[in-house]
Symmetry: C2
Subunit: 192 residues, 2 copies
């Protein structure tokens, strides 16, 4: 612990001041003046984000509900696992995951397994995505927002892992969560 403490003190950057340089509908961009470990001054531009959740919903037949969704910055339709932003910084992560899963696929789940935290862009966004594996699924009715366009379907996990390795699933949280879920399931099987 004291090693980590020393490392933190040696590498940390200290805030001098913070300014909001863009406040949009979605993005909130800040520019902070900071002091580097060598005492020099510098600035850091970054997005403050309230966090998000993403879920690998696994059926009894080892299929995963995925969504196909247009992503404007990439100009592409991507294969993604169900995901979404927290409603607010205080929303319970698991409750948010249940809400997003239900909204995007209509599915509820009996068992939720924590797959850990995922920082998509620690260099310029404070976003944390909380990853889950959901099992014991029950199909209900999809209820996306009026202006949310996506199609949900199920694909065998094995096929998705092969697609990740072939480079066909570039979305970061989806690659990570799928491979972690697969590894988790294999390790659970080995221990059984």
């Amino acid at each position: 612990m004291s090693d980590n403490r020393n490392e933190f003190e040696q590498l940390r950057e200290v805030q001098v001041s913070s300014e909001k340089v863009f406040g949009g509908h979605l993005l909130h961009v800040y520019k902070d003046a900071i002091t580097l470990p060598n005492g020099k001054e510098a600035s850091r531009e970054y997005i403050r984000h309230q966090g998000a959740v993403a879920v690998v919903p696994l059926t009894e037949n080892n299929e995963v509900y995925i969504v196909r969704q247009f992503r404007y910055p990439m100009n592409e339709v991507l294969t993604e696992i169900p995901a979404g932003k927290l409603d607010g910084p205080d929303e319970d992560h698991l409750e948010a995951a249940k809400r997003e899963l239900s909204e995007e696929t209509g599915v509820t789940a009996d068992t939720w397994i924590d797959l850990g935290e995922y920082y998509p862009t620690p260099a310029y966004s404070s976003e944390v995505i909380y990853l889950y594996l959901a099992k014991g699924l029950h199909q209900g009715k999809q209820h996306t927002d009026e202006d949310e366009f996506l199609t949900a379907k199920t694909v065998p996990l094995k096929e998705l892992i092969a697609d990740v390795m072939k480079g066909l699933i570039p979305d970061g949280k989806t690659q990570t969560a799928l491979i972690k879920a697969d590894l988790y399931l294999r390790q659970a099987e080995e221990q059984a």
Copy 2:
């Protein structure tokens, strides 16, 4: 292909206009007016990013060079694989990967394996990170930028994978690249 084409046409959002709303040292934020698939107008805020590279440098003893680096938006020192932005949109990805690996760790490599593209935040940044596995390493001299503070060291891949599963390596590109490298190596072994 025509299915994909239909899907793209059904889900795509069409640009009406584009405005740069923040131009910083690092971040370039745009707000575009768009048309949704249902014909309604909406806006999209996002970062235009010229792309980046990240490398899993694997030694003959199956150890990986990692860097420990302070990330201001998270206020944390993170375990990451060597990575960095392209010098420009036209920089060759592999050349950039060689450059970043050499700068951050002093290492050069004989063999480079493509681990695919990784989109960290397709909802609000156009960033693509090109992932590589590098083998046949030769140790040289680290030469980070004057104001870049990081420490490089080697850790067994097996230990890193266990740490990923324990949630100790939250950085997204690092989680993804490490597990993909591990899966790639296991598949290569099975085929041998």
